[in-house]
Amino acid sequence: MGSELLSGFRMLDLADEKGALCSKIFADMGADVIKVEPPQGCSTRRIPPFVDDVPDAERSLYFIAYQAGKRSVTLNLDSPDGRALLEDLVRKSDFLLESFPVGYLESIGLGYERLAELNPRIIHTSITPFGDTGPGKNYKACDIVSWAAGGPMFLMGEEGKPPLEMSLPQAALHAGAEAAVASLLAHYSREIEGHGQRVVVDMQACVAWTLMNEQAMPILHGDYIRRSGVHYTAIGTRRKLVYACKDGYISTVLAGGSGVGTTSMKGLVEWMAGSGFAADWMITKNWATWVPGILMKATDADREEIADLEDRVQRFFNTMTKREIYAEALKRRILLAPVATAADIADDVQLKARNYFVRVEHDTLGRTLTLPGAFAKFSVTPVGPGRRAPRLGEHNGEVWGELLGIDGARLARLRAIGAI
């Protein structure tokens, strides 16, 4: 019961983790995604951690999360028969997604020119760490290296300590989602004009697209931001973004300005005043014009106010839990969020009210697992993960037999010579 949105279109996914989210988005939208895995399995099957911490090709949480809804076949591209099978698959497919080293497919005679010869409608999407033309086109990039190369790592962490990445690496996910957008742009054009094309995604550039307004700061303002832990440091001041509370942390933005900012500051000060935490100056302050360090330069007087405000807000939040603070902030329309953990997210009332999480049967593991649901709610063609991630080679029979019409004897021979 996949989505109707892209039903009838087929994607061959030969990518490693860099492509996993791309084809996951396609699968969620109803495309038939066939993971074409090497005999030892896609490398995403080996990404820790594993369900119950038991390393196994079917138990990687990364694999379970991002390969859901896809089919799996095994194919040995080192064998001529394996390559011939891929050619047969290309004839029956709409997209081919891969993240091989630049030039690899050409070297085995399966570059875009050959693919387009087999199927002029094919869209061939390559995800590369550093593009396909520059001095780094053959560079390797584990996720942390892309995170560093694109810029965001420099901004994360504390002064005097190493720059950081998040404990769930993010670069490949940005590249995968970008590949999905780019492939769909090519798809829209193909469905009108009849021709496929080659799509190249640059992972470093995908990561650079997370820098928000910082990319042009050095050019226009003459300086760049240094990492400063829980602070945002810009326009001549340090603004604290994260406050401790009884059972963790919350994040808030202490700034007035436009409508929501002023409502937020008034709401917070009123709440604090109710239990004696607000200073007199805070109660009489005109918050509409108070955005130092965010939209305007901070004066010495601003810096004094910031220090007093942050100190009082910290003491106030120390008296409550994340949940208490967030609930009251929602009522008072204060710009605030808990620093949520997976447990908080799993228990969130809003996600529950919208039936966000989806339970998927994992007969492989003999249990039901819970996955993030639809990335958006479509009124006509609902999307989301329809079925569990595939076992290695689970659909060899279906794909080689039914889709390509290979008979049992030939299948057995292909297995015997190690092509599949």
Partner: protein, 406 residues
Amino acid sequence: MKRYALEGVHVLDFTWVGVGPITTKYLGDNGADVIRVESAARPDILRLAPPWKDAQPGIDTSQFFASFNTSKRSITLDLGKPKARELVLKLLPWADIVAESFTPKALRKWELDYEHLRALKPELIMLSTCMQGQTGPNALYPGFGQLMAALSGYYHIAGYAPGEPPSPPYGAYTDFIAPRFAACALLAALDYRRRTGRGQYIDMSQYEAALHNLAPVLVDYFASGRVAGPAGNRSERYAPHGAYRCADLDGQERWLALAVASEEEWRSMLAALGSPTADSRFATMAARMENRAALDEFVGALVRERDADALTAALQAAGVSAYPVQNCVDIHRDDNLESFGFWHWLDHKVMGPSPYEGMAHRLSRTPGELRTPAPTLGQHNDEVFGEMLGLDAAEIARLKEERVIF
């Protein structure tokens, strides 16, 4: 043959700030005609946010706004006024897509929500994107992406060790996750309509989209109760794995990101760094993970006095993942981004030549491009109300005076 993938697609764009405009930028850069409906009565807050041309604030001088709004036209309408609504409805037949990112009640108040628009144009595709979705108890949540990054778990997995304060990702992190999902949603919906004639409504909660970049952590929690936390740069896949301080350059600290995936890469790394065979604590991946602190110290000492760029060249030549940890000065002179054609200097009407991020992908047959710099506020009022809707100059002047076009 069409030059751009989306030539002929028309988008009426009521979005603002980050997610919506970045989404419609994908469409505009690929040839769609995107008309942003703005208002001086309620300007996009990014128009007021830094960086500004010559560091001077102004409604038309923000690169923050400009970067997200290439290849679009801008008109101004004060949607609170009935005549403004009439003008929107006159543009509606032209639009394939309407996109908006207000909090859920705004368009209902103006009777410009999907139910009203669909009655007039059944095949319309409409995207509403807000923080937490159109329904549910927290639908009216007033936050923005910086808070969403905390709410959707990214702050908690960022930091040096469990129990220590987080070191969050910079800025409105989830604003750079959701647009790619939203763009996929619109492109697939357009194609579905081409095939079936059916439009539809897309309710995108930026929270729900953003959680897809955290999926394994959530699946793990539901399956085992484990709550993933910050781990510094510690990896269970690679060792060494992290950022290591190199020699300073021009008085600024420089770091090298490095990850070693196999024994072969480990040997290559040692050879490339001219290091004698390391001790037995580092003999295997398992041993290196066991002795992470000592390993980090060992690698740190090997690179501390060396130049990060030279190290990158040497390590990559040996087949090891490595690159300098780049700041925003570095990325503007990065040879690889340069070669991909990532940066563009566009001549903005008020700002003059300004630095824009380009596309992170390239299509071979129908490449998109930054077709025009960001529009000034209301730059295309006369063109859209005059040429497209056929209003005469006197009428446009009157509507401006009445602050309908405003």
